[in-house]
Amino acid sequence: MTKENEKYLINGEKGKWEVVIGLEVHAQVTSNSKLFSGSSTKFGAEPNTQVSLVDSAFPGMLPVINEYCIQQAVKTGLGLNAKINTYSVFDRKNYFYADLPQGYQISQYKNPIVGEGKITLDLPGGTKTIGIERLHLEQDAGKSIHDLDPSNTYVDLNRSGVALMEIVSKPDLRSPDEVNAYVKKLRSIMKYLGTCDGNMQEGSLRADVNVSVRKEGDKELGTRCEIKNVNSIKFMEMAIAYEAQRQVELLESGKSIDQETRLFDIKKNETRSMRSKEDAHDYRYFPDPDLLPLNLDKELIENLKKNLPELPDQKKERFIKDYSLSAYEANILVSEKEISEYFEEVVKNSDIKLAKNWIIGDLFASLNDKNISISQSPVTTKKMSQLIDSISSGVISGRTAKEVFEVMKETGEEPNKIIESKGLQQKSDPKELEGIIDKILADNKDKVDQYKSGKDKLFGFFVGQVMKVSGGKANPQLVNQILKKKLK
């Protein structure tokens, strides 16, 4: 594949078009309480049971910043190699909606807590650096539920006031695949840091996707459309593909792109206009007078920096060095914190080469089949180690191990027990094997003679006969050794 072919371009009737994408990811801060109140942030509670007077905007209530959320944002900034702003300001973003009790969202506008940073992506064609524009903290709104009643809307304020980090990328992404890699890497970094659980089903991570197109080679950016609130990577990819195609068709037919906000309709796989630039809200941002500007202590930043956990990029380097992994293997094994931990646990006592192959191969295949995460797998690190150890100690062959794993991935049974109950141990007793071999050689005198007169290929026949007689359990290495000796 040439470099040129790797480029994601849209072939229009009048030429090739490049897609330019920027992401605004909203990541829920991992924190027990909300950004400005002590209410719980636990997911899945009964509606309106995690709502304080502050969250529901009662008269005279005042926000008080949750310092833990500030630290989480700083940690995330450090993980993104970003500039931490020691001075930042909370602003009010004013608009009316039933699930926005204050009538404004407390956010950060001109002075965010984190400035420019970067993320390195490992793509099939090599690495690519994506710029981070900024990261700021803001409150989430509540949830309007329109489909419970034909004429009423219900409002659940459990999410109201939950801390979000909005992470804005530069328009450096060029394809749905890159967006996929970017979101996964960003999520991975935050999970390593413990600053966001990255759970997209529960809405902990969602994104506004900015898409524009331009003729291949053009330097100027095209007019962009913002696709709001997309909550899965797959939908992001679908929305981008659709939206880019739509824009190309419009431009090629001589029309122009209106800067607007669009929604992605999952069922129809299309984006459609939500509001135009003219109808855009005037949010009337201004500094929240209830909160003083945030002045971060340099010492706090230094402390957080010192205690930062090992992040995917560093871990990758270490894996390559310590375990002699290829860059490709290391990438896969550090892609998620849980996977890297699984791997390191298994290789503590077991063979590295077998471990990486089994994890990247059979284990991942089983996770994919069942659509579960590594922490949900019935094959625990202990059981995986046991399986690998039985292979390296010669108790079972690699082929038999596959049979054992088939049972393990379904039942979670211990490999040793499976091997024992099914009698899968290899026959590794030389005397026993010699007996079998002697009988086969005696029964096939003609073939022995042919072999001895130069028909080397018959060696495989003898091995096959031994395996047949032993029910496939004969230790192949031993069989080879003995056969060679006897056929001399």
Binding site: F58, N94, Y97, T153, F286, L292
Partner: protein, 486 residues
Amino acid sequence: MSDITKKSLSEIVNLIKKKEIKSQEVTASFIDNIKKDKKLNSFITNCNEQALEKAKTFDKNPKLDTLLPGVPIAVKDLFCTEGVKTTAGSKMLENFIPNYESTITKNLWNEGAFLLGKLNCDEYAMGSSNETSYFGNVMNPIAENTVPGGSSGGSASALASDLTPTTIGTDTGGSIRQPASFTGTVGLKPTYGLCSRWGIVAFASSLDQAGPMTKTVEDCALMLEAMAGFDKKDSTSINKKKENYSKNLTDNIKGLKIGIPKEYRVDGMPKEIDQLWENGKKILKESGAEIIDISLPNTKYALPTYYIVAPAEASSNLARYDGVKYGFRSSKGNNLIEMYENTRSEGFGDEVKRRILIGTYVLSSGYYDAYYIKAQKVRQLIKNDFDQSFKKVDAILTPSTPSVAFKIDEKKDDPISMYLNDIFTVPVNLAGIPAISIPAGTDNNNYPLGLQLIGKALDEQKLLNIAFAAEKKINFKQNLNRWWEK
């Protein structure tokens, strides 16, 4: 005992502490006065029975080592009071009963006081005459059909007419000091952040400050002591040690320097105000202070700055009154937007709507820089003026208001003329510094007039001391014919 309700708060506290009078007698006397009032309209909610019950409980086991033992206090209806209706003078909150208590009122109750009632005020504290209240005009006890000032008009009226021994108000641009001046009482706007804003219905967050309204400077010191204190629930609260303002109160102000800003001599100001100002200077000089002419050059920009900053914040603060969660909701409208429009059109009065519109306008994109940002810059200049002056002087003496109390309806339809009433008080809020208004005398019609003393941030003790010294020499006597009882 001679009429207890005419006594100062400090006198009442002393009598209760010496067990010469019971809380129940004190409370019953004030309730008598409240019941006799037919015209002032200073109360929105009476808590007569509840207060008598509290007094009874107090008398059973009097805890006397507090600042306000067994004292009934009516408060401005902007302070949220647990289980008692809190309206902010608005139809929007006509039936709103908080299940929480504001920090300031809680502080008072912790010092032995209890709630006597909720006092009328301009709607959401927006007004200078108490004419914007949904619950009707309040009258000034000095004369019928005269405004008590605003927005803490109910507080000033109730205090001056002996319906409560002391009270608390809030001051965003003069809402404590102007009504104090109009009613011949003492009112203090503390340093921004000295008194917690938690549980006070917000008007303009960067300017709002609760403060005491009292009959004497000594009472004022006592009340401030009870109210002030750090509150971690208010991020703008100042974390500092509590002070004993009442214990440290002294009239020895020898050697203090008092600044007289030339910019406070405005065109059309009545001669009497000028005379009282001159008299104030004379008195402070006699008390050993030195009088120094100073300049606060940006004073003339204070009012326009205030009328950008305050409405901007208010437009956002009042967005929560949308009919969704609590308070008034219009029954008209077929969708969310119409429900909002009708609720807010019917629920808010004209002055509130005017300020929401101004505030929304000055924050709009395209106008933000020209208005809001510029106003913030000017605000800093005004603050700098004061900072410069306080390098030279300990306090600044000015009139509290450019006129005496006016007639009801006199300025109602002329917002600019109404706003001009706050010309001497708003610079203090913009600078976040403390100021006190004390009665300085009367005009020819016997209408009271106040003098304002402005101090640097957290210099309340010095302000109270100067006010205490001045009060002694001025010896102002309230002389009311209690027309409202007839």
